[in-house]
């Protein structure tokens, strides 16, 4: 799963074109934007590959406040399927959510 996920999200160029469409961006912190969600997954996966774990309540919140609405996806020049990447990452966090926050 992680490999599939990476294939999709490693294309992200951090251009931020997706952010303006996101309904939760009013929260300002980037973990509540599509760009931030994708890149927090990248941060998580990178650390995991190094055998480290990430403790971040904001990451958890960012991922689970994604509405799956898809407003971001149509504007991504890199073709990242943002809502799907976030959704499939939820599954990973579901099992670890307590670990991530405590």
């Amino acid at each position: 799963m992680v490999v599939d996920l990476l294939k999709n999200i490693s294309k992200c160029s951090f251009c931020g074109f997706c952010e303006i469409s996101c309904p939760t961006r009013f929260l300002a912190k980037r973990n509540y934007t599509p760009r931030g969600r994708i890149n927090s997954i990248i941060v998580f996966v990178d650390l995991e590959a190094k055998g480290e774990s990430l403790k971040s309540e904001e990451m958890l919140k960012g991922i689970f406040t994604c509405l799956g609405c898809g407003a971001c996806k149509i504007h991504c020049p890199a073709g990242v399927d943002i809502p799907e990447a976030v959704r499939s990452f939820k599954a990973k966090l579901n099992k670890n959510s307590r670990k991530v926050i405590e």
């Binding site: 490999v3 990476l6 294939k7 490693s10 294309k11 160029s13 951090f14 251009c15 931020g16 074109f17 952010e19 303006i20 300002a28 912190k29 980037r30 973990n31 931030g36 890149n39 927090s40 941060v43 990430l54 403790k55 971040s56 309540e57 904001e58 990451m59 960012g62 504007h75 020049p77 890199a78 073709g79």
Partner: protein, 463 residues
């Protein structure tokens, strides 16, 4: 003293974050540089910014102003200290048709402003490719430009006035709502392009104009960049001032052939001329005739709608997605970077410069795509590299330096609109010494120290 507590007292707890992921996300940019910060702060008004700056000045805490971090020069990357993110200050406060301005807070995005203006039939004609993402504060501080540079210049020509907060927390209003304003030295224009090193921009008065009634678009495919430039000369001789005048090199056209249906391959010129609706036939005819003289293939659309339907702008718009796609085809899951260079040369030098850049890319083993705003001589040679491959990154840097050299040798400049940041500091030095004007750098350093005596504002950038 607990910094977090002090800053929280100013902006409220909810507007401060120390969460590790928030810190990371706010210390990256669109060229995948990543820095370090201890705190991200989201002020809600100018008074809060002023109090934060006073506090940081007294305690010598470094402050890194930040919009959307879409800069392409490393200019928004923090080293330590705190990131001051302006995105909560995003109100578009006033639009005056009579006086011809929009007043907006610095965190508003250019697209939001454009939508509001368009509803009234007006426009802010600076439209960088990053329009969707760029904030007013970021665009002003990088000195952004767009596709319509030939006719409308860059953002420096469109900022009438600014509200700024100085390094020691003073709130200043410089410039005015009027087009004409002789307020001693042009401090307003000095702040434009200063990349957050002189002051925090909190509010801007921007000039606006009516939207054009119509645009006539033309696309020509040419045998060589020389032929394309010949057409540009003819357009100028005909006393036409196109708003859009874009060049796409033959490799880019080849790579994007399936995006736009093209009969021929070659170097492409995209021309967009603003005009009254009634003038569309005459201007379209005129343009067609000029392009036909030496183009292999010509397409002209009389209206914006027609151009959209026939997708004449498709390839220009696809430039960035295409580069991203080719990069990810070449590098797959490995972390990679699409590098968009940014130089400007006199229009007459373009054919030679395009040739030199291609040779240079070949020398360093890169595939290069060149798109440019030829109306103003601005070229964006674009390559892609692997982030974790130090040898390749080194080669990329050499390519970057050589492209800047090519610009200087052809009477141009090393940065047209993306700014200096950290990527082009060496380039800036090279340019000033090429011009035998090293002392200009000295003057700049002095200006910096007058504005920011303790060097706490975005230190390490520009000079």
């Amino acid at each position: 003293m607990d910094i977090v507590q002090e800053i929280s007292r100013i902006v409220g707890k909810e507007n401060v974050s120390k969460d590790p992921v928030v810190l990371q996300l706010h210390s990256m940019d669109a060229i995948k540089k990543s820095g370090k910060t201890n705190l991200v702060v989201f002020p809600e008004n100018t008074e809060q910014v002023s109090k934060i700056m006073k506090f940081c000045y007294e305690n010598e805490i470094k402050v890194y102003p930040q919009g959307s971090s879409t800069e392409l020069s490393g200019s928004s990357i923090p080293e330590d200290g705190l990131v001051l993110n302006l995105s909560k200050m995003n109100k578009i406060e006033d639009i005056s048709i009579l006086d011809g301005y929009v007043i907006t807070q610095a965190g508003a995005k250019l697209l939001e402003i454009e939508e509001k203006l368009n509803d009234l039939g007006f426009t802010f004609p600076i439209d960088p490719g990053s329009l969707r993402a760029a904030t007013v504060g970021g665009a002003i501080n990088t000195g952004a430009g767009g596709m319509k540079g030939a006719k409308y210049g860059t953002i420096v020509d469109w900022v009438l006035g600014l509200e700024i907060v100085t390094a020691d927390g003073r709130i200043l209003n410089i410039g005015s709502k009027t087009l004409k304003c002789r307020q001693g030295y042009y401090l307003t224009k000095l702040i434009v392009g200063s990349e957050g090193t002189l002051a925090i921009v909190t509010r801007a008065i921007l000039k606006i104009v009516p939207m054009p009634e119509n645009m006539v678009y033309g696309v020509g495919i040419f045998r060589s960049p020389e032929d394309a430039m010949e057409a540009v000369l003819e357009i100028k001789k005909a006393k036409i001032l196109p708003a859009v005048l874009e060049f796409l090199d033959s490799d880019l056209v080849k790579a994007g052939r399936d995006i736009v249906q093209l009969k021929e391959e070659g170097d492409m010129l995209l021309v967009g001329i603003e005009c009254n609706f009634e003038a569309r036939d005459r201007i379209a005819e005129n343009l067609k005739e000029i392009l036909r003289k030496n183009a292999l293939d010509v397409e002209v659309a009389k209206t914006t709608k027609e151009a959209e339907e026939r997708n004449l702008l498709g390839l220009r718009r696809a430039f960035y997605p295409l580069a991203l796609k080719l990069a990810s085809q070449d590098f797959g899951n490995k972390k990679h970077l699409v590098l968009i260079e940014d130089i400007a040369v006199p229009v007459s030098k373009l054919p030679r410069v395009v040739k030199d850049i291609k040779a240079c890319a070949a020398k360093y083993g890169f595939r290069v795509l060149i798109a440019g705003h030829v109306g103003d001589g601005n070229l964006h040679p674009t390559i892609w590299t692997l982030l974790d491959d130090s040898e390749m990154m080194e080669r990329a840097e050499k390519f970057y330096m050589d492209v800047m050299k090519i610009a200087l040798e052809n009477e141009g400049t090393i940065s047209a609109e993306h700014g200096i940041g950290v990527m082009k500091k060496k380039g800036l030095e090279m340019e000033m010494s090429y011009r035998k004007s090293e002392y200009a750098l000295e003057l700049m350093r002095k200006i910096k120290s007058i504005f920011d005596p303790k060097n706490i504002l975005n230190p390490g950038k520009v000079i």
